[in-house]
């Protein structure tokens, strides 16, 4: 008995350094994958749930191949990293964004492979993670059905097309909207290998990186991304992206042509 107890203490001591950050807090969404994802993504960093991380999405997942989500952490100071996560997707992380000289705001569309929690996790300069989100009910197959452009067969004709625009906002930000033509193949569809945009950066005229992100195939086909980057009304923004085949994508955004954003959102 005594021996068993001391063995137990020894095991706990061995495990203690690895578990220094303590177990992640109990999940208000009751997700079966919360502990596993929290350990992988947050490691030993402290984590707590915080409604100031505003994760917005429609009341219905009308299209499980393209479900729009906004993570808006503008109410929180010192955000250095933002992760968009759907717990029960086979590719759980969609975007890992670093708003270096940008507001902590990102909007995109993701695939949903089934009913799942959809979360935003933001990391502060202190290392602290703040997490929020909600359950989304969805029909199955967002990740495991072939993209529309694969079915139509025209994906290669449009690969590399980038559309976008930039709007000056209040508080010295510029709102950037980008949309890429890309099949964003998940690798989960028979005989179609993984192929997706994997990196995106927005830089200013001096080559300063305003924001950059890693992107996974759980972002919807033809990725659409909205950011709010620093800069005045004379900013000239450059966009650089790369996909998993090493193909580079480049685009230029000229602000001067644009009218200010109505309402200054």
């Amino acid at each position: 008995m005594r021996r068993a107890k001391s063995l137990w203490v020894a095991i706990m001591l061995t495990l203690a350094p690895a578990g220094a950050g303590a177990a992640p807090p109990a999940d208000p969404l009751g997700s079966p994958m919360w502990i596993a994802h929290a350990r992988t993504l947050f490691g030993d960093d402290p984590v707590r749930f915080d409604p100031r991380v505003r994760v917005s999405f429609p009341m219905i997942a009308e299209n499980q191949r393209a479900f729009p989500v906004v993570i808006d952490a503008r109410g929180i100071a010192g955000v250095r990293r933002m992760i968009l996560l759907a717990d029960l997707n086979p590719i759980p992380v969609a975007i890992d964004y670093r708003p270096l000289h940008a507001a902590p705001y990102v909007a995109t569309r993701i695939k949903l492979d089934q009913r799942t929690p959809v979360r935003g996790a933001v990391q502060l300069d202190s290392g602290q993670w703040l997490v929020s989100g909600g359950w989304v009910d969805a029909a199955g197959g967002g990740c495991s059905a072939p993209p529309v452009s694969r079915v139509k067969g025209d994906w290669a004709d449009h690969l590399g097309e980038i559309r976008g625009e930039v709007w000056p906002m209040a508080q010295g930000y510029n709102r950037v909207r980008l949309s890429f033509r890309h099949p964003m193949d998940t690798g989960l569809v028979e005989n179609i290998a993984t192929y997706h945009l994997e990196a995106l950066a927005v830089t200013d005229g001096e080559g300063r990186v305003l924001g950059d992100m890693d992107i996974w195939a759980s972002v919807a086909e033809d990725p659409a991304i909205t950011l709010m980057v620093d800069g005045g009304p004379d900013a000239a923004l450059r966009v650089a992206a790369r996909d998993t085949n090493g193909r580079d994508y480049r685009a230029n955004l000229i602000l001067a042509r644009q009218s200010p954003m109505p309402g200054g959102r």
């Binding site: 559309r163 909207r177 954003m261």
Partner: protein, 316 residues
């Protein structure tokens, strides 16, 4: 101890806290003209508690037999509807019209002989291509309500502009816009126009398969067609015959304009789905729900049309 299968089943039945079987549909037919009744759908999304019975249905008595306009979302609904209609008229059902491909209007045809079910050729083709996907979606949303419902295609292709049932003439209009093929029906006896989902009334229009330009053209045709009241696809009967057509037109015009402006203003899809809905639509049921669905249907196309190309050849 070993349990017999019967004891096991009894035990399971005894546990029946969980809804082993959903309730039956309650179908109420309200007279809306000489020999024509309306069965009102719920002005709601397709949900477990309404069993998918959200589309309006009409029952028409003719000298040749009973005619149904639409047949509901499921086999169970179709069977219940047949019973109600045949008791009401005292005559067997000889024709069922399905206005378009959406499952709340036509999956109930599993309860009828396909040889008496008629639809436009475009509707039958669309059902053959997409009907199984819609049926799968209905099973996911409605569970046991759908039990036994298979996708069955209408057996009669509508090629004529009217059908005469022993002197009661039903005029058939082949239109489109809510979907690729939308049937409307004018009952000459009562003057009622059965508009299918080309016309919604105090219930927000849905756009999953819409072509808004074609929809406008169809609404123009319906407006110009001499008729009495309008029995819309969803929402209450419009006795004026003009209000519901005008409201549907107003909604799709507002929707397209608002979403186009939202793209111009730099809004993302989530933000576009939260746009204010004008006060004049305050009476419309499911308005926010349908706006958010429509954003999903229409926004990527508007973005592709309006956002400029900005890609440059990658520098060496």
């Amino acid at each position: 101890m070993k349990l017999s299968r019967r004891a096991m089943l009894g035990g399971i039945a005894g546990l029946a806290k969980m809804p082993a079987r959903a309730a039956d549909y309650s179908i109420t037919a309200v007279p809306v003209g000489d020999g024509i009744w309306m069965v009102r759908g719920a002005d709601e999304p397709i949900e477990e508690h309404n069993g998918g019975a959200i589309a309006n249905i009409a029952i028409i008595a003719t000298p040749a037999g009973t005619v149904l306009w639409e047949c509901g979302p499921s086999l169970r609904y179709g069977r219940a509807l047949r019973q109600v209609a045949e008791q009401l008229t005292g005559q067997r059902i000889i024709r069922v019209y399905v206005s378009h491909l959406h499952p709340d209007h036509g999956l109930g045809l599993a309860a009828f002989d396909p040889a008496i079910v008629a639809a436009l050729p475009g509707t039958i083709a669309a059902l053959a291509a997409q009907g199984q996907g819609y049926a799968d979606g209905m099973y996911r949303l409605l569970g046991d309500w759908m039990r036994g419902t298979d996708l069955i295609l209408p057996g009669r292709t509508i090629m004529a502009a009217q059908e005469d049932f022993g002197g009661r003439v039903l005029r058939l209009l082949a239109l489109s816009g809510h979907s690729s093929a939308d049937l409307a029906l004018l009952d000459e006896r009562s003057g009622l126009l059965l508009a299918g989902d080309l016309v919604f009334h105090d219930r927000a229009p849905s756009t999953p398969t819409a072509d808004l330009a074609a929809w406008r053209a169809s609404l123009d045709q319906l407006k110009a067609l001499p008729h009495g009241g309008v029995l819309p696809g969803h929402g209450p009967l419009d006795p004026t015959g003009t209000a519901a057509i005008a409201q549907t037109r107003d909604w799709i015009d507002w929707l397209e304009g608002a979403l186009t402006q939202a793209v111009r203003d730099g809004l993302d899809m989530v933000e576009a789905g939260d746009l204010p809905i004008p006060a004049r639509f305050a009476r419309m049921a499911a308005a926010r729900y349908e706006v958010q669905r429509s954003v999903s249907h229409l926004y990527p196309g508007i973005e592709a049309a309006l956002l400029p190309r900005i890609d440059v050849k990658s520098a060496p």
